[in-house]
Amino acid sequence: MTDRGLITDAQNTWCPGCGNFVIQFALRDAIQSVIDSGIERERIVLVTGIGCHAKMADYLNVNSFYSIHGRTVPVATAIKMARPDLTVICCAGDGDAYAEGLDHLVFAAKRNSDITVIVHNNRVYGLTTGQYTPTSPLGFRGRSTPGGTREEPFNPLEIMLSSGATYVARGCTRRKKNLEKVIGEGIRHRGFAFIDVLQVCASYFNLSDVYDRHVYELGEGHREDNFSGAFEKAREWDYNSESPISIGIFYRTLRPTLEERMEKPPGQIMNRPALITKILESRT
């Protein structure tokens, strides 16, 4: 931990204009505010997948686990389970979390593991030079689909709501302030927090204009604790057609976290030699 603050001196290799910069600063500021609220910096752990998004592990000067493609969530779940006193944040990609490793995301939501997953959803595989992902629109011409994809995107918010996520939000790299808020709230949320971030990929899928045109913030009227309302709101935009795109916190509720449920009643600890001896006796 150099005292240089939250940004390391690793050379940044994102493309000029990449939305990842915005996520980086929003996340840094969110982490800073978590630190300011009294959580020591060494209690923060960042887990990343593989892809452009994942370079965050090199760039943020906090504990980090630079994992493999698609596998942020099981690592993060385990870290939290092993050490509930840590604050665990994942930076995942859309290829990473929605294609390669989707199942883990569903299970983290189901279990209400108290981690925060930020999906850098640029709707394309950046680092492998522009193939379609599960949130690319129908007909997207990427390098693996030169004639256009033959499938509609899915809506990650719907899937997360259906899976039991207790915090479901969307941000956009064209709206840094809102982004910082949804990330900060996500980190503070007790339970599984999911944040889909519509991230501009300057090189392979620059949707700046589309987002500028359609993105709007969920208003005061939106009730975060209403599942059906959240679900309906999530369905307003299908990641395919042009329509209004709301950002903000769609849903927030509380239920026991995995770590709370796993907690052992105190006083159970038995020393190992005695335990082994006891078991051997029981087998005699």
Partner: protein, 549 residues
């Protein structure tokens, strides 16, 4: 009568495994060492299950072709095992279901009279067996009391009825050695891991290591062991690495198919230097194969799984004591050298039961790596002479700890620089050499039989038990490398000497140990392979060895 073999068989769901264990405990009480083989197909109810219990004054880890007692709960059991019966075999059966000569007990009638459920038929036949073998009722009573949780009194009653209906054929001599515990290989591995300091166990069920998960889950209910069964094996190994990142000593367990799914995580462990112990239970493959039958066909897969090059520890224990010993050491060594370790076992070992001589006093404590120095200049991958970096785990005050599966610099930041990449390759290579040096102090190669014999058997894993016995009777020697990676080449050569014949005995078709030996310049002159999912019997191996030119 130095040894005795008992087969008990019936349908899946009849509790054949527990019945076998009770019989084994009877022998334990009489001062014998026991070994139990459990044979079952992959189904839940019906089919044919059987166990063979063999008790001997010597340590035993194999069964014979013939049995002294055959306890048949149904006709199948008699029909399927005629080859195991000879003139001396005493058959004890349920007269309502089996037509045979021997001790025929009307089990359903007895159960009815005692208002006992069908599953207690076991106890009845065991009672009859005890009487036939001249085992005293008080021994039966004691063993039932210790091993039966539900309906003890009723079980005792039906056992007594069986006991009373039978007559004595032989009298198994009683010895005054204290009874030893009976452990399955899985349990021995679990206890060994606990001995090594296990703090978390993550697994997705898969035969033959599911019972290790069940065993540790029970342990975890009562103590400070974290046990978790997640969505699949990919999650399993990644969770283990997450645990390891926080310093929790973690193991996982699986079989071949699940291990496939872990290989990417294994390679990550090699690169990010977070240790993990993988219990890999072999079974007959390829693919789903025969899930409940044994094989030794994943040796090279275990040695080479995962892309790229990184040091790893692979051990293949052959019995319960070795399983305990090397499970403890695997965990300790993996943690000391920050490498993945694989405990390569097989269905025969995992689900077999062994009389267990507590090896704890013989297990060396591996001096753990001293921790790193906290602070802003901590480097998770500091390059050191022996390649091992003093570790730290989050949260550590003022310290940023970065682990990384990309090629990285000392701080854990991704790099693509040629010199740094080479430096880090060499760091990992040196770590492997340090591990090898540490292993040189440990009993990595076991030997049995006549050390100076002309004819030597090389074997590995659970087959060691039968090889030991056959070698003794044929005047051969046996060399069993227990550590398979880093391969104790010098140790094997030293123990092997320069015999006329080197026979490699393996339960596979392609000769995987033979190939490993060849890599290290050790040539076999003959080989015995078996690949039908069933372990060698003593007689079979003897005959097969006799047939090798």
């Amino acid at each position: 009568m130095d040894e005795i073999s008992v087969l008990i068989g019936g349908r899946a769901g009849d509790g054949i495994n527990s019945a076998g264990l009770i019989v084994a405990h009877l022998f334990s009480q009489l001062g014998y060492q026991a070994y139990m083989y459990f044979d079952y197909p992959s189904l839940i109810k019906g089919g044919h299950n059987f166990t063979i219990i063999r008790a001997s004054r010597q340590k035993v880890g194999a069964f014979r072709a013939k049995v002294d007692f055959l306890l048949a709960l149904n006709q199948d059991c008699l029909d399927l095992h005629t080859a195991r019966i000879d003139a001396k075999t005493v058959v004890i059966c349920d007269s309502s279901r089996v037509r045979a000569e021997g001790i025929c007990i009307p089990i359903p009638d007895i159960l009815k009279e005692e208002h006992a459920p069908p599953v207690m038929g076991n106890s009845c036949i065991i009672g009859a067996f005890a009487r036939a073998a001249g085992i005293g009722w008080e021994v039966v009573e004691k063993v039932l009391t210790q091993n039966i949780r539900k309906g003890l009194d009723q079980n005792k009653k039906v056992a007594r009825r069986g006991f009373d209906m039978a007559r004595g054929y032989v009298t198994v001599p009683v010895h005054d050695s204290p009874p030893l515990p009976l452990l399955s290989g899985n349990e021995a591995i679990g206890l060994g891991l606990l001995h090594g300091g296990l703090e978390a166990y993550i697994a997705y069920p898969m035969t033959p290591t599911s019972n290790l998960l069940h065993f540790l889950a029970e342990v975890g209910e009562g103590g400070d062991l974290l046990v978790f069964h997640p969505e699949n094996e990919i999650a399993v190994i990644l969770m283990a690495l997450g645990m390891g990142y926080t310093g929790k000593k973690t193991a996982v367990g699986t079989s071949g198919g699940g291990f496939c799914l872990m290989t990417e995580g294994l390679s990550l462990s090699g690169m990010n230097e977070i240790p993990v112990v993988v219990v890999l239970g072999q079974r007959a493959g390829p693919s789903t194969g025969m899930p409940t039958y044994t094989a030794q066909s994943d040796l090279h897969f275990a040695l080479h799984a995962g892309q790229g090059e990184f040091p790893r520890l692979v051990v293949a224990p052959g019995d319960a004591e070795q399983a305990f010993f090397w499970s403890s050491l695997s965990l300790q060594l993996a943690w000391k050298f920050q490498v993945p370790a694989i405990i390569l076992c097989d269905k025969t070992l995992c689900e077999g039961y062994y009389s267990f001589s507590d090896p704890r006093e013989t297990i060396p404590t591996i001096q753990p790596q001293p921790p790193g120095i906290p602070g802003t200049s901590y480097l998770r991958y500091k390059v050191t002479d022996d390649g091992v970096t003093p570790p730290l785990y989050p949260p550590t005050k003022e310290t940023v700890i970065k682990v990384n599966g990309y090629t990285h610099d000392e701080a854990g930041i991704t790099t693509e620089k040629a010199e740094l990449a080479a430096l880090m390759v060499e760091k990992r290579v040196r770590k492997g050499m340090a591990l090898e040096r540490e292993l040189a102090l440990l009993p990595t190669v076991s030997r049995y039989g006549d050390p100076g014999a002309d004819s030597m058997i090389v074997c590995w894993g659970s087959v060691a038990g039968v090889c030991r016995e056959v070698a003794d009777s044929l005047g051969m020697g046996v060399v069993q490398p227990v550590v398979l990676a880093p391969f104790p080449k010098d140790g094997v050569k030293a123990v092997l000497g320069n015999p006329e014949r080197v026979l490699v005995v393996e339960e596979n078709a392609c000769g995987q140990m033979e190939m490993l030996l060849a890599c290290h310049g050790i040539r076999a002159s003959g080989r015995v392979h078996k690949y039908d999912g069933r372990p060698f019997t003593v007689e079979e191996l003897k005959e097969r060895i006799a047939g090798v030119p």
